[in-house]
Symmetry: C2
Subunit: 233 residues, 2 copies
């Protein structure tokens, strides 16, 4: 019988923000796999480190950081082939995913290659969305409000239009797009309702009012939360 | 010194989908509080049951199910006063929240009453959004797609407009609004890209293609996930 492929959300960074379910699967899985940059450590592997017993077999999926070369389809093809061989041998493989596997996760590149041939189970994780709201003490969304999750690379006009119709928004993947986002929020008079969170739950966590942030110094793992409505009475 | 108020996400239903952090806080907190219907058991309390030691003091916040009477401001005023007394006495209070405290959570009604006077810490939880995506093996959103979270009570026209501009959407709080939502998705030719999940990770979990669901028989704790783009290559 084939093994099972687990997509395991390891949460946003704090190793204690992993679920008991993920912890149990990582204790049991004979093989783990995870994405990593071309050079250096894997964030997912670092988050999960306290939960992985010594001596597990590990498949490292090295990815270029250059957005022009991402995703590297050959790297995923090769990783999927290696994982398929292990699954056919009857062993389970747990793939570590930062945050949640199905919320902007790179796990989908393995999922799309393997889910037709093998049993896949997803263990949901704490996403950066909820982690940033918690870290900044900013309720994301309440009652019948609409929440929009907006990746910052989109065009300024599109971002403006979507922010106008949103009651609450999370603008993600900021990095070099932060000055554009800052400008749009200023035009819409939303700077005072905007919270900035970088590296939520990690040692370098930063929580600020957006007005106090230099938009030229914003990392990729940062998010802006906007909520137009006031706090509930 | 005052105690700390914890808003603890207990996840969508499976007791193993609680975080280690939430588990530790529930082990330590001398007092827990949680919402419950006017008659009957609290879902949040049932989810967290395996993690709560015997003999804890418990504050039950009883709420009307009638949407015309919800939220019951008097009930939250009274609960906040009771919790404030305990915090002033130097003890911590952990409030159990289904899913995530700041994602459509009723915890915000306590947060708004208590966060100025007391230290509040939020422990993020697995939300129904990620749980439904995992249960239905449906990636929520990828790359630079926009995700819209749409509460079903909104007007059909508003829902249609928002679905037209969304790349991926989660339609939540279905219940009696399901026939209207079904009609809008049919008009937009999105029925075949719509997954239905009810009671995710609970014993009564249902996962179906929306076409196979009777919209007149949909509970409140159900969600429709729509994703227009195909799977990543």
């Amino acid at each position: 019988m084939n093994g099972t492929l687990y997509g395991v959300g390891v949460g946003p960074g704090d190793p204690d923000l992993i679920t008991l379910k993920a912890h149990k699967i990582l204790q049991a899985a004979p093989v783990i796999a995870y994405p990593a940059p071309e050079v250096g450590d894997s964030l997912a592997r670092m988050i999960a480190a306290p939960h992985i017993p010594q001596g597990r077999r590990e498949i490292i999926i090295r990815m270029p950081l250059d957005p022009k070369r991402f995703p590297d389809r050959t790297a995923y093809d090769n990783a999927a082939a290696e994982i398929a061989t292990i699954l056919r041998g009857g062993e389970d493989v747990a793939v570590l995913c930062e945050g949640d596997p199905f919320f902007y996760g790179s796990f989908m590149y393995l999922f799309s290659r393997l889910h037709e041939a093998f049993t896949v189970r997803i263990v949901p994780g704490i996403s950066s969305l909820m982690a940033c709201a918690a870290a900044s003490l900013t309720p994301l969304v309440a009652r019948n409000e609409v929440l929009s999750v907006l990746p910052a690379p989109m065009a300024a006009d599109d971002l403006r239009r979507r922010l106008e119709s949103a009651e609450a928004a999370a603008i993600i993947k900021l990095g070099r797009h932060a000055p554009k986002v800052y400008g749009v929020l200023r035009e819409l008079n939303l700077l005072d309702q905007a919270k900035y969170v970088a590296h939520a739950t990690l040692p370098g966590q930063q929580v600020r009012n957006l007005r106090d942030v230099d938009p030229d110094e914003v990392p990729y793992f940062a998010m802006i939360l906007v909520r137009k409505a006031g706090m509930a009475p």
